[in-house]
Amino acid sequence: MSDLTDLYQAVILDHNKRPRNRGRVPQATRVASGDNPTCGDNCTVYLQMDGDRIGKIGFDGSGCAISQASASLMTTQLAGKTLAEAEGQFAEFRDIVTTGKEPEEFSEVAAFAGVHAFPARIKCATLSWHAAIDALKKPDSPVEE
């Protein structure tokens, strides 16, 4: 099971078990959702902006360990970032999960390098990132409960 322990690294198992920033953000001003109709995974990302930077971020939804851990880690990576910065980080993350090449500087996202060996799971890893970028691109407006 060497491939699998690559895929399900300790970091991923940890984020899956104890997700960070899970749940909606009470004063969210931007929200976006994504789903993966093939497997039924879905993810909603809530943002409360601080100027052009993300103030608070949270996520909701259901999916496999990869998608849940990726969403959790994503929230820790994007907090405090602008849209441009977030897009840069997503590009780097996408590179990691599609090619398996590890980032130059150490980062927890390196844990996702194992995903590239499981092409069917790449969508699981990027689902929450897509939702976050979508939310960031929206104008502020009160989010209904």
Binding site: L4, G40, A65, I66, C124
Partner: protein, 413 residues
Amino acid sequence: MSCDFSNLRLDFPVLDQHVGGHPLVYLDNAATTHKPRAVIDAIARFYERDNSNVHRGLHALSMRATDGYEAARERTAKFINASESAEVVFTSGTTASVNLVAQGWARDNLQPGDVVVCTEMEHHSNMVPWQIVCQQTGATLRYIPVLGENAEGGLDLAAFDELLKEKVKLVAFTHISNTLGTINPAAEICAKAKAAGALTLVDGAQSAGHENVDVQAMDCDFYVFSGHKMAAPTGIGVLYGRKALLDAMSPWQGGGGMISTVAYEGSQWKPSPERFEAGTPNVADAIGLHAAMDYLDSVGRPAIGRHESELAALAYDALSDLPGIRILGPGEGQPRAGLVSFAFEGVHAHDVVTFADQDGVALRGGHHCNQPLMRKLGLPSTTRASFYLYNTPADVDALVASIRRILKFFGVE
């Protein structure tokens, strides 16, 4: 048992391979089944000897191809005990068969106030076509509920009786649920529908290759199934319909082969089955289907069904012991078709499937084309193990061992 199931594996070339370093244990049979050598060879033989277009040809190959294609139709009529072969329409699969009835019969015959009844356990393929035609005609789609928090109670037939008090024109339901393993009382449902003046369509995708089917005894109006789920090729399926109904229906597709006369101003149709088989049919795969029916009946469908149910019962018992498991469908000791769907608190089905695959065990995880039922049961998805004639008790052991390892990895057990 009339047949030694432990040797049947040898008839299926695909099973002779390793996945992840382990011998393949294929438990995704409700999605599609494998093909015995006899079926693979029948297709190749057709292309090597008799390949030709059918019906309109008078040369030797064309007559042989026509004979082969029509023999497949007759074999199919016998397989489901239709009263004549003209009641068998070849389609590309169950989904196409349902859509044919939705557009060829329902679209012309439904109006606002009319009701179509299906069930909460339907596959999308026997639900979405009715949603579409109800939207087109203004009719209403109602669902027979499933009972129990794990749907262990089957269909709520008392609720069905209530529904039948409305203006029900059609009851479309699955014979065997691909998600729950429930075996529905098809003849009883058809009888109730008939008494209320409604037609019936039985989705036989999960039953046709697993038990003896007798459409006359069941007394349904339409029965639909797919070849690929019963040891036959992809791309071929069947619509059985009562002859008088078929002959009164509009064609679903226009084109060569289904017309009696064409003029620039308009056209006339042939009777069934030709009316519904526009264009060049899938001759090779109809012949493959014929070979699959012969193969299944040489083993014996009742024995196949018993064998699968035994494996499902073994799996059910072993899985029941695992911590935090929810098993859907019939409870312990209840009749169950050859599949088990289950979910764990804290371990997602897709992770289970990915792990099991590394052990050589092929499972399916997801909504099994039954999203609304999953939502009702409060599950994003389940893992499903489904059996066929070539599976063995050893396959069940491999399944359970793999699941145990997964739970351990995720710290659940």
